[in-house]
């Protein structure tokens, strides 16, 4: 595994930056540039790069979809949220000479925001391509077929020209996929979800979204600490504040930045990436969440520092 690329990072449903939101960013950028002159586009670029992330960019965007670049010819993907649409187009653009492509897709669960991208996943329409969809839910295939049935969608699953395959993963039993060892673990979420641990060439990546952590159960915590153990990157559902996640939003199946930091610290993980952002959060709110999480890590640090990021559509992290 070489790199992780985020195509969809928002929880529950896609969020678009509005015209008013863009205007606020432009106003802020122009205010910051007041009195300055730029001799070239490069200088403008340097200035834009100096702005805070919310002033010059956006977290997005699409629902869950994360690409794992293995260094091999096959594509690996976690979840088929709406981010699968831009990922599919990018994969097509990367196709060398029209050669068939193979996609290994790992599903955390079958809720709408994690499967809604499949009907718009262009590589699945291309004859010769192979799409292998892995998961631990017994109803995996049925759920994906059902979302394309009438009256929910006009184009039936049978329209796909690619070979569509489904593979059941038994939790706790590692499976080799394209040179990567893949292990799933049951998580607490309505209808169940599964976390993934990917290991290859001494690198470990954990994808743990839509996962609630019942804090009173020590054995649950121990299980996750072991699953996260020494991971180079943990992609973690940090949708709610800790207070919300154990009060008004208890049993909603999501977690917090605070629990993410604690689990990663206990596990000796190196990098925590906040993921599955609450759709009501704007860019400033997510940026503030990131700053607070970094501060929490700083004031609670015991051993080596834990790097903290907030995922955004387009973020690339080298493993």
């Amino acid at each position: 595994m070489k790199q992780v690329r985020f195509w969809g990072t928002r929880g529950s449903l896609p969020v678009a930056l509005t015209a008013a939101g863009v205007r606020r960013k432009v106003v802020a950028a122009l205010r910051g540039a007041s009195g300055r002159s730029f001799a070239s586009d490069a200088e403008i670029g340097h200035y834009v790069d100096s702005l805070a992330f919310p002033a010059a960019a956006t977290y997005g965007g699409h629902t869950s979809c994360v690409e794992i670049e293995t260094g091999g010819p096959d594509f690996m993907l976690c979840d088929l949220g709406s981010g699968a649409r831009p990922f599919g187009l990018s994969a097509m653009a990367r196709r060398a000479g029209g050669a068939p492509q193979t996609f290994h897709v790992f599903m955390s669960h079958l809720h709408w925001d994690h499967i809604m991208g499949l009907p718009f996943f262009v590589p699945a329409f291309i004859p010769g391509n192979r799409v292998v969809i892995y998961g631990s839910h017994l109803e995996l295939e049925a759920a994906l077929r059902r979302q394309q049935e009438k009256p929910s969608f006009p184009v039936d699953f049978s329209i796909f020209g690619a070979t569509m395959e489904f593979v059941h993963l038994e939790p706790g039993q590692p499976r080799d996929v394209a040179g990567v060892s893949v292990t799933t673990m049951l998580q607490r979420h309505g209808g169940d979800s599964y976390g993934y641990r990917f290991e290859s060439r001494g690198r470990a990546l954990v994808y743990s979204t839509d996962s609630e952590h019942p804090l009173a159960h020590a054995e649950h915590t121990d299980r996750f600490v072991e699953f996260f153990r020494d991971a180079d990157l943990v992609i973690f559902d940090a949708m709610y504040s800790l207070a919300d996640s154990i009060s008004v939003k208890a049993d909603w199946g999501h977690s917090s930045n605070v629990v993410g930091v604690e689990l990663c610290q206990m596990a000796g993980a190196r990098h925590l990436c906040l993921f599955h952002h609450e759709p009501v959060f704007d860019d400033d709110a997510i940026e503030a969440l990131l700053a607070e999480t970094r501060r929490l890590e700083e004031i609670t640090r015991v051993d080596a520092p834990l790097r903290i990021s907030a995922a955004y559509d387009g973020l690339e992290i080298t493993l």
Partner: protein, 134 residues
């Protein structure tokens, strides 16, 4: 972690010292359980003196959330006082400062929860001691 309790009129003042983390949170939960039953039955209050707490984890915060919820259900008061700066930051980041009554110090918390408990605390803390003549 160390826990010491003083009864002030209708209020239990609970001094907590050390780390409230995954290892020790259960100890705090067990200490609070009988107190909540007793104080709650008379609609009194529990005030946690956190001035000696240097760290609290999510598991410890959950104990506070559960206790606060149970006290509210009994129309009793539950407050936390004297957060050290680091612990105050953890409360803010976790948003617990928005769901629990947090006060700068013990007298402020007592003033909010029970006038009789505040009077008892002031009498006990005065230089002359609680039994001195007026």
């Amino acid at each position: 972690m160390q826990i010491a309790t003083r009864q002030l009129a209708d209020t239990a003042l609970v001094g907590v010292v050390g780390r409230v983390d995954h290892r020790s949170a259960g100890q705090l939960e067990q200490a609070l359980a009988p107190m909540m039953a007793r104080v709650g039955s008379v609609r009194g209050a529990i005030v946690l003196d956190f001035s000696g707490v240097e760290y609290i984890s999510s598991v410890g915060l959950r104990v506070l959330m559960v206790a606060g919820k149970q006290m509210r259900s009994q129309a009793a008061s539950f407050a936390i006082a004297g957060l050290q700066p680091v612990v105050a930051e953890i409360f803010a980041i976790s948003r617990f400062d928005r769901v629990l009554a947090v006060h700068a110090d013990v007298p402020s918390a007592l003033a909010q929860c029970s006038a009789s408990a505040l009077a008892a605390w002031q009498a006990a803390e005065s230089p002359a001691g609680p039994s001195s003549p007026p």
